[in-house]
Amino acid sequence: MWRWLLALALCLSPMLARSAPVVVASKNFTESYVLAEIATQLLNARGIEARHQRGLGGTKICFDALTAGEIMLYPEYSGTIRTAILDLADNSELSPALAAIDLEMLSPLGFNNTYVLAMRDDVARARGIKAISDLSEQRDLRIALSHEFRARNDGWPALAEHYRLSLATVGIEHGLAYQALAASEIDMTDAYSTDGELATADLVLLADDQHFFPAYDAVWLARTDTPAEVRAVLAELANSIDESAMQRLNAAALQTNQSIERVAADFLNARGLTENLSGSAAPTLWSTLLDNTLRHVLLTGVAVALAAIVGLGATVIVQPFPRAARALLSVCSLLQTIPSIALLALMIPLFGIGVVPAMVALFLYALLPIIRASLTALDAIEPVHKIVAESLGMTNAQQRRYVLIPLAMPHILSGLRTAAVISIGTATLAAFVGAGGLGQPIVTGLALNDTQLILQGAIPAAGLAVLTDLAFDALETQLIPAHLRR
């Protein structure tokens, strides 16, 4: 047992060791991937070892990882920093507020990824519409807006009031809006100004002639302890990407068979920042699959094994005391009510990003099914068996070993089975905190709208769950006599 744990610790240790290279992170959407990859490749080309921590699960997780020193920088937007992170009224307060928490914005990238209104080219031309103010004369446009933009206070309602528009709108999923435009089902939708689709479709962007939308200037959000040589390299990228360039990069990344690495390398070569950069050779499908699967097994295996040891130990200790047992169950149930992505985010200030916070979160999630099942099982043991065990002169330890735990085993195993299967599913979210595993292709695939990539994570994850179930069947056969199996 101990030998096994030691071996496991040895396997884990290289993964746990803090790495020296500059860590550039990205959020889980295409544009963030591309920008972070460009910075990473350029840093490496300039002889500064850098690593791209791809697809952390959103603004909060990136920000927490940044303040915890787990990453050095990531691409962010001034509007997001102002509203979502710092909650400031005015862009002018941005820099001092960031400095107060040892962060700063490095050189801007040169584009503003704000909301825009995109209209079919033919409709705009026929009606002579060039700017948003031209819409005030219109009455019968077919407008479909993404749900969030349509509902947000600073979205369509405020825009319509600002420009005095009286137009009917319907809600639509943003990803579907481009198809609806192409099929001429609708005339206009809202978009992000750098959406890759805008570069390819026959659409015009209406000018925000009365400056309603705030600026979402792309910048590097970085720690103030970022070394000067890193700053110097990033300065080479200053104002090097405008809206249409970013649109083209996003469009290229959205094409299947076009890796993010390739898109970034092509950009750097084309701009003359690098020569003949190839983009790191993409690993083959099978080796990636194997890596992700092994990482996934490691994440869930260690988490569930630790939860089993701690959970069963705690159960055995508290079970004789009903109040303590109830308290323990309540704590575990409480943990379970925290949404998994939030629990992962909570782990970052404590454990940084990567395998450890994911394992801790999975461990906490696995505790409840294990503890609940084993407590119930121990409580359900018939009193006569406890009386007999005592009357045979057994010590408490002997009673547990020879009577209580074997009698509780069917329930304990089903608790472990539930914990293991749930963990395999939940562990796909671990990619959001940079822990890798089968969630990595799923998260990336969702961001790139790449079904093939999603399946590369989803299918092995489902397979693992089925295998785990079968393994528990075999374990039951080994440990429990046939007449006691459930």
Binding site: E382, V384, H385, I387, V388, E390, S391, L392, G393, M394, T395, Q398, Y402, V403, P406, L407, M409, I480, P481, H483, L484
Partner: protein
């Protein structure tokens, strides 16, 4: 206070038990000689099971003393006392996850007896009490009620304890099976030197194997003596009624 006679396996000396202000047993005095078989008869709730547990330490006296072979049980741990005492009860309590042989052999395993000798002793004893090798290999649910009862009895005596406690151990069986079991037990008991204290609500059961009868009513001994004396001269109204009921 009476001094314990030599050869006394169990001696209860003016023992009382109260649990949370409720008096369960009071003023019990009883001597059980080595090899004797004592039957304690009484209605349910008269404190019979508590009396038995005083002897293996699972219940401690509130008043008075309990002596085992002259030693006060206050000086002995429950675990030690239990290891020296066989205990069989109506619900039997064979462990469903162990085969019958493993159930019977469990006390030997706990005592550190090696597997070969364990198997040997289990087979011998089981044969003596009428269980076959095939029955030993099964799990408890594969045995009839009477066979399970015998297995429970085997487990209780496998360590050859000085004292055997039977708590309504034969009550769950039908009349014919019970008679067979009682006959097998009486035969077995007479060949060994352990003292038996059985509690039962069934006078017929007591009459068949006990040489000393104790009548318990509401936690007090109302009559005790050699079997035939008590049967012919009950003296106490409750004892009289009990004997009348089984005539």
């Amino acid at each position: 206070m009476t001094a314990p006679a030599s050869g006394t396996a169990v001696h209860l000396d003016e023992v009382g038990v109260s649990i949370q202000d409720e008096t369960i047993l009071s003023d019990l005095s009883l001597e059980v000689a080595d090899g004797a078989c004592v039957a304690v008869i009484g209605a349910s709730g008269s404190g019979k099971s508590t009396l038995l547990r005083l002897i293996n330490g699972m219940q401690r006296p509130t008043r008075g003393r309990v002596l085992r072979a002259g030693r006060d049980v206050a000086d002995l741990s429950t675990q030690t006392l239990c290891q020296q005492t066989g205990y069989a009860l109506q619900q039997i309590g064979l462990f469903p996850h162990l085969t019958v042989a493993d159930n019977i052999g469990l006390p030997l395993k706990l005592a550190g007896v090696n597997p070969t000798e364990r198997e040997h002793r289990v087979t011998d004893l089981a044969e003596r009490l009428g269980l076959t090798a095939a029955q030993l290999a099964r799990y408890p649910h594969g045995l009839s009620g009477g066979q399970q009862q015998r297995a429970g009895l085997c487990r209780a005596v496998i360590l050859e304890p000085a004292v055997l406690l039977l708590d309504e151990a034969f009550s769950g069986l039908d009349a014919i099976t019970r008679n067979e079991a009682l006959a097998v037990f009486a035969d077995f008991q007479s060949s060994r030197r352990f003292a038996t204290i059985m509690v039962t609500h069934d006078l017929n059961e007591a009459r068949k194997i006990a040489d000393w009868l104790v009548v318990l009513e509401a936690g007090r001994i109302v009559r005790q003596g050699p079997r035939d004396d008590v049967l012919t001269d009950p003296r106490h109204p409750y004892a009289t009624a009990l004997i009348e009921a089984f005539r």
